[in-house]
Structure formats: structure tokens, C-alpha cells
Symmetry: C2
Subunit: 328 residues, 2 copies
């Protein structure tokens, strides 16, 4: 099978919303009038972002999910994506699984594959995703990292740290009971981009970003962009580790320190971190219900720079929690 | 140096035309009102698309050039691009050269880097490029592969086959005199995307595409999309090999058969192939002059399907010229 047969068989589907889809030199997209186009790109490399033996279906899901998560963080509505794929060889079973996982998530969000590239090389998946954000009179309604104000509450969606717990278990650092590993592993391999919440937060959140490298590292980008500081209540954050509510947790033998490391410097969460003034608290709960996405307040924005971690007694924790960096 | 310092030092420049550039979860782009967004993505892998020891400056140029060439083929005006980069390690001299070559070409075409990704992994460069095409009343003026009509002339821009000649020489298949190798090598390593010509061809060309995998293979995609056939005059095509005009050519010892292979199945030309009715011939020459890009008629579109190669005596050549396919 050649390059063009591969595209034809596994990736080419008739364009529904794009003006022109796969098959020409460029795809053509018509953004809704009066909107801005939100664009993000993520590259996934074997051995760094996923294990070589990962189920290709979940890999197809995740490769798109991490990109959609960036659209969610901006409050953008998904429109389309391109896929560039380097493959060491043509493996039809792998391609079938990968494209199945990819398209299942794409269809769920009305996000259309419009083009890309295929080549031979060490396995590498690069997706670029396009969404739209209303921009009445040229003023974008996108959620940015730069709008947090002193006094704003800090929220996270869903759960934190379970992906890292699964990763550490798969690497042999922890031994998790099977049912607990399975549920944590699903968070690692099939994250749910918080698109509906991102849309519902437009006009409410003062700043937002997605959590991909770990809470403590990620939030510092938001603090820097907004020129503010923050206090995080680590007990509230720790409470977001879904594994702690699992029936098998008491048998996992993981202490709070290790659990907190998963939550604070875990990475791969793909939840939204956002800030909003306390006056919006009731409206935020409505947005959370409408988008069927739980949200939780874990701290507050300060005027003074710096990130402060407080335990349940209000005692400051040492800042030894780091974030994932591909080159550190 | 970490991931974020790397971006800051080598790739982050203030957004000039984009609403929002590098540094948030998404970039924001505002396409001109009444236009369609043209999008293309190309992935370059070490060992397949470039030699490991290639000058990083020319690699930065080429990685963007092959993407801009797709915009040219659609008659799109470049706006912006994203860059996803997997690097085996941080090599500051390499990054400085790469970003210099990249930005020099980007600035030449007013095309802005708005976002992307960096990760560790086998060297892989994935660029996604965005351009605009006027679409008055929603009708796109993009040049497509599907518009060729029987009787149309077939044109190519610039030169064909020199990139392949250089590649074969670098691989040791040919021995080329130094000055000849140098000029051919520039075609391989620093192709010039035909943006100005693409813009000038709007409303004139009936179909267009860029030549990346070799004339004989590439044109068949255009013929299939347009449901037509074609006759190519191989002597006219052979005349497009710039090396044949070089003072050192007589010392190169390359026969016409080998030269024709470079021209017909060479690849890496990044010239435009386009079709137009004979009535536009004079207007095309004006477009060529205005865009400072030579164009040459090399054949004609037929109603009957199939590709016919005729030598200078009108004798049909056997179709043993193939195209580059990453998986064949």
C-alpha cells in the first residue's frame, strides 16, 4: 500500500463543513463571519508521550484530545484539524485502530480532518487544530492566560493527578490494584477535552489554560501572563485525585506526599485551570452543570507575585513540586 | 536550557498581524473579511527529507518553503504558520541557524510564526501554514487541481529536475563538477516558493498544483481530479533542467535518459504546474513577468484519460517514470 492509498483508506472522508477537505494542495476553511480563528498544534512522540505498545485506538483519541484541550482552554468551538503522521512502516491494524479512535473523538466534537501529511519515519503524530471564537466588532471573546486579577478564585475542572498515578504504576513505581489502575489508566490514555466547559466559561472566567505539564508548573505561566501571584490550598487540590475515592485506594499503599506529587506536578491531566471573580461563583456552578463538568475552587489569586502552597492547617509547604519540561 | 527558554530565545517574536501569537493555549488569527483560509501541513523527517548534516539555515528555509509552495499552488496569500519541532537534544548553534533560515523566508513573504510545540525526539519538523484566498459572495478564487479542461495548455514555472540531480550527486550516483553541483544543490536545499506567481494566476489558470514528488507522478493527481488526460512534450520538459544550460554541463557526462529521469520523476522541485486555456497565453506571460517567474508550456490536456509522453519527433515514450512515494 502506498502513501495515497493509505490516506484514501484510513483518513479521507468527504468534507462536510470545510469548503475543501483532503486531496488538494491546501484545504479551505470558511471561519464564521465575525469570529477569530483559534489555532493550536501538538506533537506526540513515541517513548515520550506514549508507550510503544499503547492501544492505537486510545492513541488516536489522545492525539486529538490534547489539541482539543487547547481549544477548550480558549473557549473556542472546534471546527477542523490537520494530521501529519510519520510511520516506521504501514501496519494496517494499527492504522485502523488509530483512525477509529481519532474519528470517534472528532465526530463527538464536530471537528473535521481537512488535510495533513504522511511520511515514513520514527512514529510521530502532529495535529494542528482550528476553532472559532466570537469576536464582535473585532473584540475576541477568547479566554486568555493574561486576565487573572487579585482576589479571583482559582478553579480546576474534573480530576487531577490520576494520569500521573497510572503512568508511575505502568513504569513500576507503584503497584496499583487492577480496578484502580484501570480507572486511572483511562485518565492517562483517554482524556476528555473540556470543550463544553470552555464554551460555557466565555464571559465568566477572567483567565484560563489547560493543564498538561502539571498544576504547579502550568499555573506559573498564567501567573506570569497576568502579572499576579496565587495561593493554592493543597488539601482541595489533593481532593481532586479521583483515585482517593476509589474502593481499592486503601489497598494502594500510597501516602499523601506521593499523592500530592501526582496532583501538583502530575501532568497529562487535560483539565481546565481558570480564574474568576468571587461574584461569578453562582454563575460558574450553572456553567459547570450545563456543561456536565464538575469544577472546584482550589485557591485564590494574589496581587503579590509568587506561588504559595498551603496545607489544610494553613501551613506553607516547601515548593519542591516541579513541572514537566521536555528538555530539563 | 528548558523548553520555554528555547521558545523564548529562538522562536518568540511579537505578533504583528495575528490577534494573538506565541504564548497562550491557542493563537488567534483574523482572516480578512470575505476570504477563505487556505491550510496546508508538511512534515520533514531526518534521513528522508534531508541529510542529517544539512546546514540548519537551509533546513529552516526549506521546511517553510515546502509549505508556502502549497499556498502558492492554491493562489493563497501567506498569513501565518505554526511550527512543531522534535529535537534529539538542544543544540544552540543548530537552533540559531534553523530559526535564522526560517524567519528570513517568513519575513520575505509576510508570514508570521504564531504558535507550535517543542518536544524531545528524533528530529522532526512539522509546519502548518495559513493563507487567505478571496471568496467574494462565498465563492473561492482558490486554484484547485480539479479545473483542467481538454485543450488547456500545461505549464510549469521555473526549472525541473535540478534538485534531483543534486540529490543523486550527493548520494554518489553522479559526479558533478563543483560549480554545477553548487547551483543544483541550491535548488534542492533552498527552493523558492512561487507565491507571487500563484497570486498572479488567480482567474487565469484552470487548475494548479505544486511539484514535490516528480512531474509524472504529481500531474496524475491533477488529471484524476479533473477527469482528463494529458500529453507532455518531453523535450520541452527536458529543456527545464537548468543544469543543461550550465557552462560545466558538457563535463558532467550525464546522458539525456538520466537527465529526463531527473525532470520527469525528480521530486523536490517546488515549482507550479498549472493549466490554462490557450486564449489566456498572452495574459499568462504578463502574469509571469509581473511575478518575475518564468513559465513554460510543456504539453496539453486531453479529453481521453491517461498520460502520454512524446519525444521531440512525436514518438511516444514508455511510461517507466515513477513518482516518489514514502511507502512504496
Amino acid at each position: 500500500m502506498g502513501e495515497f492509498d493509505l490516506i484514501e483508506r484510513y483518513f479521507k472522508r468527504p468534507a462536510k463543513r470545510a469548503v475543501l477537505g483532503i486531496g488538494d494542495d491546501c484545504a479551505l476553511l470558511q471561519p464564521p463571519p465575525g469570529s477569530h480563528m483559534a489555532i493550536s498544534s501538538d506533537m506526540l512522540v513515541e517513548g515520550r508521550h506514549f508507550f510503544a505498545d499503547v492501544d492505537p485506538r486510545t492513541l488516536g483519541h489522545k492525539a486529538l484530545a490534547v489539541n482539543l484541550s487547547d481549544l477548550a482552554a480558549c473557549g473556542a468551538k472546534p471546527l477542523a484539524f490537520t494530521l501529519a503522521l510519520a510511520l516506521p512502516k504501514i501496519d494496517e491494524a494499527w492504522l485502523a485502530g488509530f483512525s477509529q479512535g481519532l474519528f470517534a473523538l472528532a465526530d463527538q466534537h464536530g471537528c473535521e480532518l481537512i488535510g495533513g501529511d504522511t511520511t515514513r519515519g520514527p512514529l510521530n503524530i502532529c495535529i494542528t487544530v482550528f476553532g472559532s471564537v466570537p469576536a464582535p466588532a473585532g473584540k475576541s471573546q477568547a479566554l486568555l492566560r493574561s486576565g487573572a486579577q487579585p482576589g479571583d478564585d482559582i478553579y480546576v475542572s474534573g480530576h487531577l493527578g490520576d494520569a500521573r498515578l497510572a503512568l508511575d504504576a505502568l513504569r513500576g513505581k507503584f503497584h496499583l490494584p487492577p480496578a484502580l489502575l484501570q480507572s486511572a489508566r483511562q485518565r492517562l490514555e483517554e482524556p476528555s477535552p473540556r470543550i463544553a466547559l470552555g464554551l460555557a466559561l466565555r464571559g465568566l472566567a477572567s483567565a484560563a489554560m489547560d493543564l498538561s505539564d502539571g498544576l504547579v508548573g502550568d499555573i506559573q505561566h498564567l501567573l506570569k501572563a497576568s502579572q499576579v501571584g496565587a495561593t493554592i490550598h493543597t488539601a482541595s487540590a489533593l481532593d481532586r485525585l479521583a483515585a482517593r475515592k476509589h474502593a481499592e485506594w486503601p489497598n494502594a499503599g500510597i501516602n499523601d506526599e506521593a499523592a500530592l506529587t501526582c496532583v501538583l506536578s502530575g501532568g497529562d491531566d487535560y483539565e481546565l485551570l481558570f480564574t474568576a471573580p468571587p461574584s461569578t461563583a453562582a454563575a460558574l456552578q450553572v456553567a459547570a452543570r450545563q456543561s456536565a463538568t464538575p469544577i472546584h475552587c482550589i485557591g485564590r489569586i494574589n496581587a503579590a507575585p509568587g506561588l504559595q502552597l498551603l496545607d489544610e492547617n494553613g501551613v506553607e509547604l516547601p515548593m519542591h513540586f516541579t513541572s514537566f519540561d521536555h528538555f530539563s
